[in-house]
Every structure is written in structure tokens, then in C-alpha cells.
């Protein structure tokens, strides 16, 4: 025992209602621990250790029985380690003289046989008891929180988060890779279920984000590198060259007008419209400054043109402008990087890309949008013909193991919205082919009712194929939607003029790389993983990195906005605290033992290890060290110790685990 005193350990086994007690003989484990394990002075079991009564039980024992070590066998430490450390602290025991065994996630929930489960539980408890006896009292590392915040992604979630924080008086760097903020929401026509115009409700937010004194807008920019830890991140941002001097540009738009090069706009107009080589994505763009698309600019490709430069009244066009690398210091980061639309060409039997009048949901949004390529006229690909009949296909690329097995959450409402818009704009006959209608939010189902009243035909069945191969005269020249009407139990071939594929949401193509830059991971489906699916949806496993909006999983606008605000609240909480205490899990070099072999020197990805030439020894900077312990394991001289994960502690735990044999 480091502190000289003999260990007096208390062991507490949680029933977790029946979650643990149902499979593990908790009374037996507690009794056994109390009687057989070295240093254990009391073993108790209790219905809910995490309840205030359970915690008081521990605190009381620490006082009455003069415990100097505590072990709790309950759920995963990731859930309640903090809780019980708190209990110890309240009772005046250093929180690091506590250890927790996961008897629920690792035993009762994964074992079927009671005897086997009980034995495993005993082993895990023994491990913790042996280990905790070797634990040292530690003081948490306190670091200051830099109040600046980095928000990545200027969609509605990112904008919301940025505004919340900026309004609270702290500085925000809002980064977007596109020339303007606004994200997907700026492309939409109407928003369900209220049908208010998407731009009308978003533009004001974009404007205030663009003009807010506490927000530095960095559009047409990418975050390339992030170093540091919670409270003290350093981010390197590449500002791509706009080829336009924003200090001179007034956003008058003459350059776009005069630019002779027209290209298909496959980002904002979803490939349905055109833009110039020098452009702002859309009229209400924030910031108002255009960018020159070098790949398509005649001057950059052919060496001559410069029309924009000629006409620019303020001489803002700067063909020689280069990318800039900016470095910003922030205390917290909010990722709101959004989603990609599922590429419907991956489902050939739906004919998108082969059959002209098959449209994707985003194409239709642009079609229906008053500022879109057809000024809001819903017409076929030929640009003039108004469809007489339209089929809307739900669940395209979603709820399908061949593509994405998850539900994209928005498609049902989106499809209902389309049905309404088509009906309203064209009076065409509308068929909605669905598997299930999912309208689980405020006044969503009411909207469904409304669409039903409008006379939309609902066909319950996942569309099998869309073809132009007619079988009977009635089908000639039409698109035929082949589907089983599962409520009738018969196959139907529905001839229509237009098909709208309600495509699902997919993680951004680069999500994994972005995750790596910020040190967070993606789920099997590719969405960023939150700290807890229910109780901590906007935090991540990495302190100081938060997520909001669709990058965390499919959701609609209200949900994205709430998450943006929630993430902001979490960040503001940290900023207000001003300082944060970190796990004192660090590596330390015993300079007397260090032989100066330098094996450890190149092991640290955080550059925490430096070699002191004059003394011929290695030093570790505790501020930079993240406590992974790789250098500890590598040191041949055993000169490096890992606090809270020392060899003595781990070896003791091994002893304990193996002290229980069948």
C-alpha cells in the first residue's frame, strides 16, 4: 500500500433491478467477496447502487467502517464511474481509490446460465479488488477553457449552434466548404408539415450569422488539422482561393452576369440547372461574394477571357489569389457536417439516369422551387409538359440491406409533401408507393390526413421496378411502376408520366476522414457516434468535440435545429465553468531510471515526449500527454510509469481475475 495504511475495501454489488440480479446471484457474490477477498471488510448488494440511497450506503460505510478503497460491481464504468467517484469524494475518499466492474454489460446481459454468470462476476470483482488495493490517490489535472468555438458546417444545425454561442457573447469560427452557408435546407422548396417556404425561414438566420459581430465566417474553406485537447484545440483551416478580393467585392453580381461560361450546377441545383464559372450558389447566398470555379473558368483553362475582371467595377477579381492557411485556437468544436443524398443510380431497376422522367427528391425540390430552374413549374424533363400522373417512391436506398438498412426518417414526410405539391401545382393523379407511413412528430400525422383528403392514391408496396417497356397499349409512352399492392395481394403496373424517387440520407463521403481529423469515430452505417444514444446525443467520446444535425444520424429540420442548440448549450456550459478537470491518467518518466535509449521518443503522436540532450534523459509534457500508455509499455528500463494504469495495478488485476477458477 502506497499510503502505508492496510487496505480496507468495501465491495458493492448492484442488482440493477433485475438486469443483473436476474442472471447473477448478487447476494452470493457480495457475501463471497466480503468473506474471501483480501482486504475486503464489507460486501453488500443493493437494488440500485446508482440511486441516492445506494450512494449514501457507500458514503456511510466509508465513514463508519473507515474504508479506504471502494469497488462497485454494476453497469459499465462508462455510465456510472463518475457517479460513484462522486460518492467517494463526498465521503472524503480520493475518487481514484475506487474501481468499477461491469457486471451488467459484460456478464448478466451476455450470459444465459446463472452459475456461469455468477462465477464470471466473482472473477471480475476479484480483479477490481486486487487492483484497487494498489490504486494511488490522484488529483485531477485542471485546464482552462479557451472560450472561442469552432463550428464546422454551415447548414441549419451549424448556423443555429453558431448563433446561440455568438449571442451568448463568445466568439465562433463558422466554417463551410461551400461558397455559401445554408446547406441542404437552402435548396428546399417548402418544409413539412407547415409548408412555409424553406428559404423564407432560413435566410434571416443566414443573414444574422453572416453579420454577427461574434461570428467569423469562413466559407469555401476546409479544416485540415486539429491538435490539442478539450479547452485548448488548435485548428488549421485552408481558405480556398475565391480569386475574388472580398475586401473590394460589393457582391453586385456583374461578373456572374457577364461570365460567358455556363456549367451545370450539380450542387445547389442538383444537376437540374446551370450556373456561371464565377458564381454565388444562389441569390441570397451568405457571404454575398462569388468564387471563380477554376476547373471551368475559361481564363484558367485556356489562358484568355478575363471578362469578369474587365467588368468588375471595383477591380475585386484577383486571378493570382492563392489558398490561405489560417490557424485558430478554440476550446470546443461542434461538427454539423450534414449528409449526402443517396445516389439513386445505384438502384438500376428504378431507371434514374436512364429514364428521363425519373427524378430524385432533391431534383424535385429544385423543380418545385420558385427560384429553381423552372421557376417552380412542375414539368417533365422536356421542360414544358405538365405531368398528368405522378408516382412517388418511398424508401429509396433506405430500409434495404442492399443499400442502407436504416430508415432515413424524413422520406415519408418528404414524400407526403411532394404529393401535396404535385397535386397543388399540376392537379395530376398522385400515387405514393410506401412500405410504412412513419409520421411520428408534432402535427405530422395531421399532414398525412390532409394529403389523404386531397385524393392521393396510397399503394402499400415497395416498388419493384420502373420501366418504359410497355406490355399493353395503355402503357405506351409512359413510365410503368411495377409494384405489389400488398393490401390487395396483387401485382400492379401503374402507368405514369413522372416518377419521384424519395432518396434517403447517407453519411458524407468524407465522414470517416473528418472523424479522424477530430478524433471521433463513425457507426457501422457511417454516422458519427454520440457519447450516449439517449442521454448524451450531442457529445462524443472525445471531450470538447460535439456533433449536431444529420451527421449524427438521419433527422429533419426541427431535430437538427434542436441538436444545434443543444450542442451550443453543452459548449456554453464548459465555457462558463472556465476550467475543466481531466483524468490524471498520464505517463511520467523517472529520470533516475531513464537510460536515455530514446526508444519512446518517436512513439508519441502528441509530441509530448522530448529528449533533454544535456541530461541525456527523456521528459514527458503532462499538458500534451493524453495517457495512452504506449510509451510506458515500450520503456525497456521501466522508467516510465502510467498513473492509474501502472504495471503494479494491471498485474494485480490479472492476479485477481485469475484467482477465480472453476
Amino acid at each position: 500500500m502506497s499510503d502505508g495504511k492496510e487496505p480496507r475495501i468495501g465491495v458493492y454489488i448492484c442488482h440493477c433491478g433485475s438486469n443483473i440480479a436476474g442472471t447473477v446471484d448478487v447476494e452470493e457474490v457480495a457475501r463471497w467477496a466480503g468473506e474471501h477477498l483480501p482486504g475486503v471488510v464489507v460486501g453488500r448488494d443493493y437494488k440500485f447502487m446508482c440511486s441516492s440511497l445506494g450512494q449514501e450506503l457507500i458514503e456511510k460505510d466509508i465513514h463508519d467502517l473507515d474504508l479506504n478503497r471502494v469497488v462497485v460491481g454494476a453497469c459499465s464504468p462508462h455510465l456510472h464511474e463518475a457517479t460513484f467517484r462522486g460518492a467517494c469524494q463526498r465521503a472524503g475518499l480520493n475518487p481514484f481509490l475506487f474501481d468499477m466492474a461491469s457486471l451488467r454489460e459484460q456478464v448478466s446481459w451476455v450470459c444465459a446460465d446463472r452459475a456461469v454468470a455468477t462465477e464470471k462476476a466473482k472473477a471480475l470483482i476479484a480483479g477490481s479488488v486486487y487492483r484497487v488495493a494498489q490504486n494511488e490517490p490522484l488529483e485531477p489535472i485542471i485546464v482552462d477553457i479557451n472560450p472561442n468555438v469552432l463550428v464546422v458546417g454551415g447548414g441549419v444545425a451549424g448556423i443555429q449552434a453558431a448563433l446561440e454561442i455568438a449571442d451568448a457573447g463568445y466568439h465562433v469560427y463558422l466554417v463551410d466548404r461551400e461558397p455559401s452557408i445554408g446547406g441542404h435546407m437552402a435548396q428546399l422548396d417548402k418544409t413539412f408539415p407547415t409548408l412555409d417556404c424553406s428559404a423564407c425561414i432560413l435566410t434571416p438566420k443566414m443573414f444574422s450569422a453572416g453579420t454577427h459581430k461574434n461570428i467569423t465566417l469562413l466559407t469555401y474553406a476546409d479544416v485540415e488539422k486539429v491538435d490539442g485537447f478539450v479547452g485548448n484545440f488548435t485548428a488549421q483551416i485552408r481558405q480556398h482561393a475565391r480569386k475574388v478580393d472580398v475586401s473590394l467585392c460589393t457582391g453586385c453580381g456583374v461578373c456572374q452576369e457577364k461570365c460567358p461560361k455556363k456549367v451545370i450546377d450539380d450542387v445547389f441545383e442538383a444537376g437540374l440547372g446551370y450556373r456561371k464559372a464565377v458564381y454565388t450558389p444562389f441569390p441570397q447566398a451568405v457571404p454575398k461574394y462569388p468564387v471563380i470555379d477554376v476547373q471551368n473558368c475559361t481564363y484558367f483553362q485556356k489562358g484568355s477571357c478575363k471578362v469578369c475582371e474587365k467588368f468588375c467595377p471595383t477591380g475585386a477579381i484577383k486571378f493570382d489569389q492563392q489558398d490561405e492557411l489560417l490557424t485558430v485556437n478554440v476550446g470546443n468544436v461542434i461538427l454539423a457536417t450534414g449528409y449526402d443524398l443517396f445516389d439513386s443510380r445505384r438502384i438500376p431497376q428504378y431507371g434514374y439516369g436512364r429514364l428521363a422522367n425519373v427524378f430524385t427528391s432533391m431534383e424535385f425540390e429544385r423543380l418545385a422551387n420558385a427560384s429553381g430552374p423552372t421557376n417552380g413549374k412542375v414539368v417533365l424533363r422536356d421542360g414544358v409538359t405538365v405531368p398528368q400522373s405522378v408516382a412517388i417512391v418511398h424508401c429509396v436506398g433506405s430500409r434495404d440491406r442492399n443499400y442502407n438498412s436504416y430508415c432515413s426518417a424524413i422520406c415519408c414526410m418528404q414524400s407526403l409533401k411532394f404529393a401535396h405539391l404535385v397535386h397543388e401545382r399540376t392537379g395530376a393523379r398522385v400515387y405514393n408507393c410506401y412500405i410504412d407511413i412513419r409520421t411520428p412528430a408534432k402535427s405530422y400525422d395531421e399532414f398525412y390526413q390532409r394529403v389523404l383528403e386531397e385524393g392521393t392514391v396510397f399503394v402499400r408496396g415497395k416498388v419493384a421496378e420502373v420501366t418504359d417497356a410497355a406490355r399493353v397499349p395503355g402503357e405506351e409512352g409512359k413510365l410503368i411502376v411495377q409494384v405489389e399492392d400488398t393490401l390487395v395481394g396483387h401485382q400492379r403496373r401503374i402507368p405514369v408520366d413522372m416518377v419521384i424517387l424519395s432518396a434517403g440520407m447517407e453519411p458524407r463521403a468524407g465522414a470517416k476522414e473528418v472523424g479522424k481529423i477530430f478524433g471521433i469515430s463513425c457507426s457501422m452505417d457511417g454516422w458519427f457516434i454520440e457519447r450516449h444514444p439517449k442521454l448524451d446525443p450531442v457529445a462524443t467520446m472525445t471531450e470538447g468535440i460535439f456533433i449536431a444535425g444529420v451527421c449524427q444520424g438521419p433527422k429533419d429540420i426541427p431535430a437538427s435545429v434542436s441538436q444545434g442548440a443543444a450542442a451550443a448549450a453543452r459548449v456554453l456550459g464548459l465555457i462558463c465553468r472556465g476550467r475543466i478537470s481531466l483524468e490524471p491518467v498520464r505517463a511520467q518518466v523517472n529520470q533516475d531510471q531513464c537510460s536515455g535509449c530514446r526508444i519512446c521518443n518517436n512513439l508519441c503522436p502528441f509530441n509530448a515526449i522530448t529528449f533533454i540532450e544535456e541530461r541525456g534523459v527523456t521528459e514527458i509534457n503532462p499538458a500534451l500527454c493524453q495517457g495512452c500508455g504506449t510509451c510506458v509499455a515500450a520503456c525497456p528500463a521501466g522508467a516510465i510509469t502510467g498513473t492509474h494504469f501502472s504495471n503494479t495495478q494491471v498485474l494485480a488485476q490479472i492476479d485477481g481475475l485469475l484467482s477465480v477458477m472453476a
Binding site: I347, P348, Q349, R354, T467, D468, A469, A470, R471
Partner: protein
């Protein structure tokens, strides 16, 4: 390149042209085909409907036989054989219990087979992957210029995706590419992977004939001169049953059907006769004329003349004149040629 060759029952009789043309083009393409010794029927889609173990054992016997010549790759030109063989092999890998049962059965015939030993390939994959389109194109002496062909894959090589090769079960392109390499004008055929009906003509005429009608109609809607197929069953349905279908629906389509190997042979400058063109019921005459190839008169029914005695019971068909497409039943239907 040396491969085991599993012709399958169809290629012995109604798809003899597929067999002869495959063997004919093998040489130029540098493929050496070693016929699997004493192979047996793969059971088509019928046997598995009655007795799974027996059906799979029947197939496994072929795999076992194939191991005897020491080649680890087997070519099956017939889609049904191809699927059955590869499916059985797959099961024997994934389901040890089943593999054990099958080997117990094989043992009764003094044979055994270890799942995964033989790589079952369809001829079309061997040509696109092992030979390669470049080599194929380089051998073309008579490009099929001006010939509009509808590539028809059918089901069993497109699905259920057991194929080793990268391909799309809904929209494969390998056959399209081959035909383009031969210089033909390839139709973007929307029904390319639809179903020919398999044995449906024998189970329910209305169903079977309608599937045939859809395909033939599709092809002629797209003004294809001929349908090119990779499967004897598809060929039988589309060619041999085309007039039956015409009677059933009172239509008069006359879309000739050919095996892709026959087309390759043509492009290699081989004669239509050598490739067995004369043996289809719907005459390919008009189509072949487009590339200046004369259709041979229907092969004098060798079998028939030899076995006159047996024929007495049934009416003899009226002999076909070249270029005149009809079933030849003398019942007067199918005379008029569409287009």
C-alpha cells in the same frame, strides 16, 4: 488457357448450335476445353423441387467428376447448369453439415468432393475476364456492322449474384460489351435480365407465352434484328416457342434468336452453317443478309431420315426455304413476317 467443359444436356440436342459454336470459337480465343468425363444432368430447376439432397448430390457428382482431370476451373455455357453447379459448390463450403451428407451420398458411387475445389465459370465471364475484350476485338475479321442486336442475359447468370465477376444483377453489360466489340449495333434492351419463363410453357401456357411475348415484343419495339442469348433455355423459349406464342396471342412476330458464341463466330468470319444458324425455327436469314452472310438451308434432318419408321405416327414438317421464317407445321400460321 485450359478449362474443364461441362456442356450439359441441352447442348447435346436442342442447343447443339451453342455447343458447336462454343467449340468453334474456343480455338481462336486460345481456350482449350476438356469435356468433363461421363458428366450427368444437373437436374435443371426440377430436381431440387422434389428432393434437395438427391438434387444436390446429382450436381455434386459432376463436380467430383470434374476434379478427375486436374483442372480447377470449369466452364458451363448453360446458365442453369452454371447456377446449379456453383450453388452446390457454394453450399458445400458454407454448410458443412450438408457437405458431409452429400459426400456420404457420393461415397456410394465411389466419389467425393471438397467444396471450393472447382471454380465454376460461365463462358461469358471467361471471355470478358480471361480472354478480354481487346483480344476478342483483335480477332474480328468481319465486323457485324449494321446489325441491330438485343443482348439478352436472362436470369440465371444475372442472379442470385453467385458470380465471381463484378456485375450488376439488374443491369449487366458484359454481353453488350462483347457484341459492341464485334462491331454490332447494340440495343439498350430494358428487358435484358427479364425472365423467359423457364419451363412455364409446360406448366401454364398463358404464363409462359406471355413472358415470351413481352421479350419478343420488347425486342421488336426496339427494332432489334435479332435477340442474342447466353442460355439454351432462353433460346428454346424465344425461338422454338415463338410461333406457339404467336398462335396464342394471334400475333406474328418473327424475331430470330442466336447464341452469343454464334455471333462471335460470325465476326470471326466463320460460316453460318458451321455455327449452326440453320437450326433455329425463326429464320435468321433477313438478319444475316445485313452482314452479307447467306443462311444455309435447314440442315437436312439427319436424325429424321434415319429414323423414318418412328416418324410415321406424326406428320412430317414441310421443309423450310431459306429466309422464310415459320414453324413449318403446315397449319398455315406464322407465314407473314413482321417487318
Amino acid at each position: 488457357m485450359k478449362y474443364s467443359y461441362f456442356p450439359g444436356c441441352s447442348l447435346e440436342h436442342n442447343a447443339e448450335a451453342y455447343d458447336s459454336s462454343s467449340r468453334a470459337i474456343a480455338g481462336p480465343l486460345g481456350l482449350e476445353l476438356v469435356e468433363v468425363d461421363d458428366w450427368n444432368c444437373c437436374g435443371a430447376t426440377e430436381y431440387i423441387s422434389l428432393n434437395m439432397t438427391a438434387a444436390l448430390a446429382l450436381i455434386a457428382r459432376n463436380l467430383a467428376q470434374a476434379t478427375k482431370n486436374g483442372l480447377d476451373q470449369m466452364i458451363a455455357p448453360c446458365s442453369a447448369c452454371y447456377l446449379n453447379l456453383s450453388k452446390c459448390d457454394r453450399y458445400m463450403v458454407t454448410t458443412p453439415e450438408l457437405a458431409e451428407r452429400l459426400n456420404t451420398a457420393l461415397a456410394a458411387g465411389g466419389l467425393s468432393y471438397q467444396g471450393g475445389t472447382i471454380k465454376v465459370r460461365h463462358l461469358i465471364d471467361v471471355i470478358t475476364e480471361d480472354v478480354g475484350l481487346k483480344t476478342l476485338a483483335s480477332k474480328v475479321t468481319r465486323p457485324l456492322k449494321g446489325l441491330r442486336v438485343a443482348p439478352y442475359y436472362g436470369c440465371l447468370i444475372s442472379r442470385p449474384g453467385l458470380r465471381i465477376s463484378e456485375h450488376n444483377p439488374e443491369y449487366p453489360v458484359s454481353l453488350d460489351e462483347i457484341l459492341e466489340a464485334l462491331g454490332a449495333e447494340v440495343v439498350d434492351f430494358p428487358l435484358k435480365t427479364h425472365c423467359c419463363g423457364g419451363h412455364m410453357t409446360q406448366i401454364s401456357e398463358s404464363t409462359g407465352f406471355d413472358l415470351i411475348r413481352q421479350l419478343v415484343k420488347g425486342a421488336s419495339d426496339y427494332q432489334a434484328d435479332m435477340i442474342v442469348t447466353v442460355c439454351p433455355m432462353c433460346h428454346l423459349n424465344l425461338d422454338a416457342f415463338q410461333n406457339g406464342m404467336n398462335n396464342f396471342f394471334k400475333t406474328n412476330y418473327q424475331v430470330p434468336v442466336a447464341y452469343f458464341t454464334q455471333m462471335i463466330g460470325l465476326a470471326f468470319g466463320m460460316s453460318a452453317r458451321q455455327l449452326g444458324f440453320g437450326t433455329s425455327l425463326v429464320s435468321a436469314g433477313p438478319a444475316l443478309a445485313k452482314i452479307g452472310e447467306e443462311l444455309p438451308a435447314a440442315a437436312p434432318a439427319a436424325g429424321a431420315t434415319k429414323r423414318k419408321r418412328d416418324d410415321k405416327s406424326l406428320p412430317m414438317p414441310t421443309p423450310l426455304a431459306a429466309g422464310q421464317g415459320k414453324g413449318g407445321s403446315g397449319k398455315g400460321q406464322g407465314q407473314e413476317v413482321s417487318r
